[in-house]
């Protein structure tokens, strides 16, 4: 089980012939992900890592009925690629592409919502349900199956914390990066909803960072819903200055809005345990899960 992707996921790769697309297609195949086809307009008929390439998503739908797509298309063309996947009713779309203009993201996500399609990202490392399916660019060896759901705004910090969990014998049900942009598809609250319904998930880790108010709203949700599973959070950027983008387009404190302090306070008030250091996440979870 786990959320969104599993052993039954049949994925296409949009932008499969590019450097990133072909490299990560190989790694995903090595992990056991079912990649049924690739799409690059004008490159139909090619084969990449044994995967057949088509000119359009429509052709792959007719031939393979995929239910997911992972997108490596460069930013100027990414909007069209995502819209094409949505128009063809691909249920889950993972947008790895970085530097998508905000206007394009807003357009794409409005269409996705109307079409009941889940978009993860943009600017996401992707999603992994350990030993079942990986749609993303994360190093697979640090993940192991288990009962911790993990949702994060960061890439390498997720690897750091997941490796810590694995080291302590705490496997993961699904780990998903929501993306580092100001506006993203799947958010923390939606991920928590899915983890709530997932019987394999016994606890959830949230990895937040400065910028925006997603963590504060998530804390409200946890408190209001009396969320039934333990939640542990880590928030990066306690000492970030105001008005500067810290690597991610979305990691920016505006005036007094979006500080780590505000997020930590909201989580604490909602009964979410907040780890002071990345390594404390595993320790706090061990307390919750290993009586």
């Amino acid at each position: 089980m786990g959320i969104i992707i599993n052993a039954g996921t049949r994925a296409i790769v949009q932008g499969i012939t590019g450097k990133q697309g072909s490299y990560h297609t190989k790694l995903m195949l090595d992990y056991g992900t079912k990649i049924v086809a690739g799409v690059v307009p004008g490159k139909g008929g090619a084969v990449v890592n044994g995967v057949p390439v088509y000119d359009s998503v429509k052709e792959t739908v007719e031939a393979y009925s995929p239910n997911a797509s992972i997108i490596f298309v460069p930013a100027p063309f990414a909007q069209d690629a995502v819209l094409e996947a949505i128009a063809n009713k691909i249920k889950t779309i993972v947008v790895v592409t970085e530097h998508l203009p905000i206007k394009d993201t807003i357009n794409v996500l409005a269409y996705a919502r109307q079409s009941h399609v889940t978009v993860i990202g943009p600017n996401t490392p992707g999603i992994i349900t350990p030993r079942e399916c990986k749609l993303g660019i994360m190093p697979a060896n640090i993940f192991t199956p288990g009962s911790v759901g993990l949702v994060s705004r960061s890439g390498t910090l997720t690897y750091e914390i997941a490796a810590g969990l694995t080291g302590k014998g705490l496997g993961q049900s699904t780990c998903v990066g929501v993306g580092g942009d100001p506006i993203v598809g799947l958010n923390f609250i939606e991920a928590l909803e899915l983890f709530k319904e997932d019987s394999k998930t016994k606890a959830v880790v949230l990895i937040g960072e400065i910028g925006g108010n997603m963590e504060e709203l998530t804390a409200d949700y946890v408190a209001k819903e009396r969320y039934p599973k333990p939640v542990v959070a880590y928030v990066a950027g306690r000492f970030a200055p105001s008005g500067k983008r810290m690597g991610h387009a979305g990691a920016i404190i505006m005036g007094k809005q979006g500080t780590a302090q505000s997020k930590i306070e909201a989580f604490t008030n909602a009964g979410v345990q907040v780890a002071e250091k990345p390594s404390d996440v595993a320790a706090l979870l061990a307390e919750e899960l290993l009586p």
Partner: protein, 379 residues
């Protein structure tokens, strides 16, 4: 990318949003000629990309041509909040009845644009939000509808206007949304949006922030070049590195925004102070890591350097080669603490050990050691 007030106003003007009559000067010799075309009194406004410019002395009212010339001469070449004034906007000063606020920006959680409007203009929107949040009218914009005239009318109506004024104000708000979308802006703001004594509306000040990721669609801004950068910032930009200067003494290099932010937090946790934030991003090349190390080595504030790499797409051996190259080239030798794990870890760690650079597996241990070095507890 922040636009100057005069650039934003030019853009407003092409959308028929009313702005005061004005001229830009870059040299005091141009002042007399510029003023000849304008009616007194005047507002003399330094063009610098910083908030609170007025309070810092960057805006000077002038009653006569003589006063205007003096004000221009005073501002050109001066510094406002540390930024040099290279351009000055001379505008006609209008008699004002009331100051409003109108802006379009991004609502992150609702994944849309949002129109913000307030009858208490003239102060920063964050300040209004802090003091009287109810004084701000928020209108979420459905991207498939856009901001229609009925939305804009509803906003203007809440300010109590009617008739021609209602239509005029609504038109400005609607055009402002069009400016935002057409320019791929993250923020467009008219503050204050003045109601003049004749009952018309004029954009007295203008702010526009263009989405950096959309510059490929806007060569007119892309060619304009970056703002004033330090040599470190320029080198970072050239190598696609995310760099932010901070006020401590430990130089930091890492891969991934979240990991580097967490590294800064750890340094603070152990009682140290980072000198910078530097994120290499994913799939780093040897050139990029070398440039990153050069940036932190060259910073006179750094007493020690902490490198924190968790290699996924990034290969540890590439990182190690970059570190060794930069450490050998560096003019000032500084203690280096390296944490290096992930793809090709053994090879990378061996390259560093062979070069006499000690390397650790734990980021907490590495952060602790970097702090100890700068406090002089360990050498």
């Amino acid at each position: 990318m922040n636009l100057f007030e005069y650039e934003a106003k030019q853009e407003f003007s092409t959308y028929s949003i009313p702005i005061p009559q004005g001229t830009l000067v870059t040299n005091s010799n141009q002042t007399a000629q510029a003023i000849a075309k304008l009616k007194p009194p005047y507002m003399i406004k330094a063009q610098v990309l910083v908030g609170g410019r007025g309070k810092a002395g960057g805006i000077i009212p002038a009653k006569s041509a003589k006063e205007a010339e003096e004000a221009v001469a005073k501002l050109l070449g001066a510094q406002i909040k540390g930024l040099p004034v290279k351009q000055v906007l001379i505008e006609e000063k209008l008699p004002i009845r009331k100051e409003l606020y109108a802006g379009i920006t991004i609502d992150r959680f609702n994944r849309s644009y949002v129109a913000l409007a307030s009858a208490s203009g003239g102060i920063e929107i964050e300040e209004i939000a802090g003091k009287t949040p109810k004084a701000i009218i928020r209108t979420l914009i459905d991207p498939q509808l856009g901001l229609r005239s009925f939305h804009a009318m509803a906003i203007a109506k809440q300010f109590g206007y009617s008739g021609n004024q209602l239509a005029e104000l609504a038109a400005i708000i609607q055009k402002l949304y069009q400016v935002c979308v057409d320019n791929d802006a993250e923020l467009v703001e008219i503050n204050p949006l003045a109601e003049t004594e004749t009952g018309n509306f004029v954009a007295l000040d203008a702010r526009m922030v263009i989405d950096d990721n959309a510059l490929f669609r806007h060569p007119e801004y892309a060619e304009r070049g970056a703002e004033e950068l330090s040599s470190q910032e320029a080198l970072a930009l050239k190598n696609n590195l995310a760099y932010v200067k901070l006020d401590g003494d430990i130089g930091v290099v890492g891969n991934g925004a979240g990991l580097v932010m967490a590294t800064l937090d750890l340094l603070n946790f152990f009682g140290g102070k980072p000198a910078n934030f530097l994120d290499l991003g994913g799939g780093t090349t040897i050139e990029a890591i070398t440039a990153a190390l050069q940036i932190v080595f060259a910073d006179p504030d750094t007493k020690a350097i902490l490198v924190n790499i968790l290699g996924g797409i990034t290969h540890c051996d590439d990182v190690a080669r970059g570190i060794v190259e930069a450490a050998n080239e560096a003019k000032a030798k500084k203690p280096l603490v390296v944490r290096l794990v992930g793809t090709n870890q053994q090879e990378g760690q061996k390259i560093l050990s062979d070069a006499g650079i000690s390397v650790l597996d734990s980021m907490e241990e590495a952060a602790r050691q970097a702090v100890e070095i700068t406090r002089g507890e360990k050498r």
